[in-house]
């Protein structure tokens, strides 16, 4: 009775040593590759910080930059350079807010529609086409915004300036919508069938189930999708560079031209004198953006994971 299994098991375990070695090598190689990507990020981080730190630690740079840094005047190329970053922050906040106001409802609601209501064939068209938008290079969206969208929005709003924060924001929303849609859709699909069935069993209509049961249950995932969309909107460079006019004005009007943090780096880095205070300030802006997106990602990662686990495992 015991003969067959006892002989079979050692045979199965007797692995070819060459194969074993190969296994180990493959494991190490893959581990090494994953280390490479982490170390690249780390090196970028160190480099960015290193180039930015002169703003605070180099006496000469500090003297030139700090008095004007928290100001409203961005004139880095000047006889008396002024590095006021407030208009740039306002620009980023304006375009990002516009983008999110448009992208969040569209992204989340169309994901809800796709998961809860859409017939199969619509779903099969909707998902790939939204993902196709995600594949559009931002230079194409930027060009579209510059040439077409700006004209439409000017006709619609009657604004004096054709290129303004609104055009940039609307164009950025095109990049944020696919992210929000895709991740929300995943989160909504992951809501257990049993929850929906329980809701129907209690007499809720489809609409009530979608809004009061599925949507809240998927809330952590949707929240994560919004954060990631926000990160994309803040980081978007080319579109705002092309579509907002890039005037560094401290104005909250959506119809004024605006200059964002990213566009400033994108436009000015190419020509800045290496090691100049201006150069350091651009890296400081880069550091701000880096920290901001890191915080967003950390929140998305930890907060959302903790919530999700509590909701579906603990409950």
């Amino acid at each position: 009775m015991t003969t067959t299994p006892t002989t079979a098991i050692p045979n199965a375990l007797k692995v070819n040593p060459a194969a074993k070695r190969l296994d180990r090598i493959a494991k190490n190689v893959i581990f090494g590759i994953s280390l490479v990507s982490i170390s690249i990020i780390l090196l970028i981080l160190i480099f960015t910080f290193k180039e930015a730190q002169d703003v605070f630690f180099d006496a000469h740079v500090r003297k030139e930059v700090l008095p004007t840094l928290i100001g409203t005047n961005w004139q880095p190329v000047s006889d008396s350079p002024k590095y006021g970053i407030i208009p740039l922050f306002i620009g980023t906040i304006k375009t990002t807010l516009i983008a999110m106001v448009i992208a969040v409802p569209i992204g989340v609601l169309s994901a809800l529609y796709s998961v809860m209501f859409a017939p199969k064939w619509i779903k099969e068209v909707l998902k790939p086409s939204v993902e196709l938008v995600a594949g559009l290079p931002s230079v194409v969206i930027g060009f579209f915004a510059l040439v077409v969208l700006s004209g439409w929005l000017q006709a619609l709003t009657g604004s004096a300036f054709r290129l303004n924060a609104l055009v940039g924001g609307v164009a950025i929303s095109l990049t944020a919508i696919p992210i929000i849609f895709t991740i929300s859709e995943e989160a909504l699909s992951a809501v257990p069938q049993s929850m929906k069935e329980a809701s129907y069993a209690l007499g809720a209509t489809e609409w009530e189930t979608a809004f009061y049961v599925v949507l809240p249950a998927a809330y952590p995932g949707i929240f994560a999708s919004i954060l990631l969309g926000l990160g994309r909107a803040v980081g978007e460079t080319l579109i705002v560079l092309m579509a907002t006019g890039n005037a560094a004005i401290s104005s909250w009007s959506l119809l004024d031209s605006t200059r964002t943090l990213t566009a400033t780096i994108g436009a000015e880095m190419a020509e800045v004198v290496f090691g100049d205070p201006h150069y350091n300030v651009l890296f400081l802006i880069g550091t701000f953006l880096f920290i901001f997106s890191m915080i967003l990602n950390l929140i998305a990662e930890f907060y959302v994971k903790a919530k999700l686990l509590k909701k579906f495992r603990g409950g």
Binding site: Q75, E268, M269
Partner: protein, 290 residues
Amino acid sequence: MQRLRYAYIIVFTLLFGSCAVEEERPITIRGSDTMVAIGQKWAEVYMQQFPEATIQVNGGGSGTGISALINGIADICQSSRPMKKRERDIIKQKYGCEVIEIPVAKDGIVIYVHESNPLSEISIEQMKAIYTGKIRNWKELGWEDQAIVIYGRENSSGTYEFFKKRILDGADFDAHVQTLSGTGAIANAVAQDKYAIGYGGIAYSRGIKFLAAKATNDSPAVPASELTIADNTYPVSRDLYFYLVKEPQGRTRAFIDWVLSDEGQSLAIAEGYFPIRPIKSLRPETASTK
């Protein structure tokens, strides 16, 4: 033993590698985006005539070119602005000699407005008032009561600095100036905005027209053209430069001499720039104003 063999291999690679590089080392030119087109044209025609020469031309901007020159990545830096004192000092420190500056062509800054704009000329003072924010409305220039939509270049561009120095007298641009990258982008934007004004090189775009420039409010208006720019009567023109860190020799010298010859200069005209001196132009009258 093993290690020694590796060392041999490395030494040999280095030796032969460097020999090969020395042999076919191309002339590397980097710098101003304004000058990329003309630089590439010069390189192309020159290489056709002298097939043994290899010339690489890259853009990136005057500042990029200058830092490439400083770091020894480029042999020649094309710059649409004169080098700054800070940059000259760095070169002096690093190479122990003054940087060599060679004006190779001229560029005129042209002022564009929408074709429906009734203005035909503008003075430098008026331009200054517009770009520093003192004049914000076309009414003040005798047109409709409409806000002026002001376009300019990014502060990374040589054109920006030239305009700032020559027209604004070094004053800061108004914050409301919208910045775009490139002459073409500004020309297109002006063509789409009825109430816009912009500046840049001679650009051909439907829907815009060039304003003649006046040095002062009372002086005569001069239209931008090959002649007026080459003989310095057009008030807003600038030199375009080659920069080198050492006296050009051999192939580099031959190339630069050729660029400065009548042949090189007439290529500049063909590319929409202007010769550094009035040459017996291949084209007698001003074809480039229209």
